[in-house]
């Protein structure tokens, strides 16, 4: 295991038990059976979901930055997350979300449709420019359709549910959500790790990578599958959580040797840590309602993005040559 992975894993193993005891109600000083109930039924699934969603976002971000050779790439830009969101929004609009299972399933179907479209549009030839454009267009289309569904919402409650859900959160999630997202995210991270050597080859550009025996079409399929599984399942259980996929690889990169392959596992661990800590801190804040996780991370993420741009302006390198 690399040094970065070891540090982040240790931090994560420290953070998980802390997040179980912390919250608006601290588990110390209350009845033991109640404490056990809170931990087993509320905090443990929530913590595991935070770890799952964060790990998926971090790993997908690292892989996308490697693939696009661009440190400003975010997995949410490429259609899969907006596709998943569209599926979820449709389930609210048709009043299907209440059944519990239909929301994530429609959301996964949305992610799957976006993946299929991406693979169809960009698969032949496997060019990166085509992939980027196709992804951006799918994202725009899914975004527009989401707005359309919102504007046609049958009643104010559906509207409010949709808008709240889109903000992304981990409140009131159950073991069922963990069972859905964790295996898919893990599978997605394994797929992305398989693509890692080819991402290293892309350090020298598409031509060089092809000459090194990288099958660009296969690489694109691995990425679509890996990002689809991680991001699709993440959105299905937690809504849109932005900026983690962008921020985490940046924070982690200086701890590694900067090869894309060295970044995927540490970024997964870093993403897990960031989402877990952010979610735990949020639920302790003395606010009337709970600040939505998606909003909070965007509030941290957007200034971080601006700071990155400022560093670029001042001639910083972002780990680039």
């Amino acid at each position: 295991m690399s040094r970065a992975s070891a540090i982040l894993l240790a931090a994560l193993l420290l953070a998980i038990p802390l997040s179980l005891v912390a919250g608006r109600t601290w588990v110390f000083g209350i009845e033991e059976s109640r404490a056990m109930l809170i931990i087993a039924e509320l905090r443990l699934p929530r913590a595991l979901l935070a770890v799952t969603v964060g790990a998926g976002l971090g790993a997908a971000g690292a892989a996308m930055q490697g693939y696009l050779r661009n440190p400003l790439a975010d997995p949410g830009l490429f259609g899969i997350a907006p596709g998943a969101a569209l599926g979820a929004v449709l389930s609210f609009s048709f009043g299907l979300a209440a059944s519990g299972w239909l929301l994530p399933i429609l959301s996964l179907a949305g992610a799957g449709a976006a993946m299929a479209l991406l693979a169809l549009l960009a698969g032949r030839g496997g060019g990166i420019a085509l992939f980027t454009l196709a992804g951006l267009m799918i994202a725009s289309l899914a975004g527009a359709l989401t707005s359309l569904v919102i504007s046609l919402a049958p009643n104010p409650w559906a509207l409010s549910e949709i808008v709240t859900w889109l903000m992304g959160a981990l409140t009131d999630r159950s073991w069922a959500d963990v069972m859905l997202a964790a295996p898919m995210t893990l599978a997605g991270i394994v797929v992305l790790a398989r693509a890692a050597p080819a991402l290293d080859a892309l350090t020298l550009g598409e031509d060089a990578a092809r000459s090194m025996g990288v099958d660009m079409e296969k690489l694109l399929m691995l990425l679509v599958a890996g990002v689809g599984l991680t991001i699709g399942s993440g959105v299905a259980v937690a809504g849109i959580i932005g900026f983690v996929g962008l921020m985490v690889p940046h924070i982690v990169r200086p701890l590694t040797d900067r090869r894309p392959s060295s970044l995927i596992v540490p970024s997964a661990l870093g993403g897990a840590l960031l989402v877990l800590v952010a979610d735990s801190v949020l639920r302790m804040l003395p606010l009337v309602g709970e600040l939505r996780l998606g909003i909070a991370l965007s509030l941290i993420g957007a200034p971080f993005f601006l700071w990155l741009l400022l560093r670029l302006r001042r001639g910083g390198t972002l780990g680039l040559t």
Binding site: T203, L204, A208, S211, M212, G213, D215, L320
Partner: protein
């Protein structure tokens, strides 16, 4: 070894036949837009031809597994942008990708052959242009290919680095028996570097042979439209240019 059979790509290359020999340096020369980069990229298997075939030992490159092809043919693109600030050693290690191993010996040997031992752990952003060019060639050498194809490796190198890189390429061909193919813009450099020259013009092979033949004043007049003649001894040729009427 490596062979072009009526190799064509759209209008850029219009049917080129040639055989690349082991143990020799072959230079691809010609005016801008003649199809030099297209030819070398087709020979590297990076592009797929729209007509004809590129063959390795009689097998079509497009029928070979990409990694099997990559083990035989090493390709150095024109001025590659290095996306991430990795160490020189990590970059050179990419040469082992097609072999699927992480053996240190070929990587160490390639670093040593390029005189990069002392720079191995430096991030590539801290290297000079010439050092970076050597790292990029070392990456190709680490794959131990039988053919080395390089697209304008001399561009943006100063004279000293050009001379040293030319020497390295000649060593790879003459002492290690590799087939070395280089796209070269500078005709004097091509004349002194290469054992054989392919002179392209307008997507076709205009002349092929030893430099003194392929780059003869007649061929240069026909292809570049300039009056020029060669001065100096073999191995130290200089092109003397008169103003042409083209």
């Amino acid at each position: 070894m490596l062979e072009a059979h009526k190799l064509a790509l759209n209008h850029r290359l219009r049917g080129v036949c040639t055989k690349i020999a082991a143990g020799r340096v072959t230079a691809i020369c010609g005016p801008n837009g003649a199809g030099k980069s297209t030819l070398i990229r087709l020979l590297a298997g990076v592009l797929e031809p729209t007509g004809g075939e590129a063959l390795m030992d009689g097998v079509r490159l497009r029928d070979m597994h990409p990694r099997a092809r990559a083990r035989e043919v090493g390709y150095l693109p024109q001025e590659p942008q290095i996306a991430w600030d990795v160490s020189a050693r990590n970059l050179v290690s990419l040469g082992r990708l097609a072999h699927g191993d992480a053996r240190r010996e070929p990587v160490d040997a390639a670093l040593a052959a390029m005189g990069l031992e002392a720079l191995a752990d430096r991030p590539v952003s801290t290297l000079s242009g010439g050092e970076r060019a050597r790292v990029l060639l070392a990456r190709v050498l680490a794959g131990e290919p039988r053919c080395i194809l390089a697209d304008e490796p001399f561009a943006s190198l100063d004279l000293a680095y050009q001379a040293s890189l030319a020497q390295h390429l000649r060593t790879q061909a003459h002492e290690h028996g590799r087939a070395v193919v280089v796209v070269v813009h500078g005709l004097s450099l091509a004349h002194n570097l290469a054992d054989r020259v392919l002179l392209l013009n307008d997507g076709l092979l205009h002349a092929e042979g030893p430099p003194e033949y392929a780059l003869s004043p007649e061929n240069l007049r026909a292809v570049f439209g300039v009056e020029a003649h060669w001065l100096g001894e073999p191995g130290a040729k200089v092109l003397s240019l008169a103003a042409g009427d083209a």
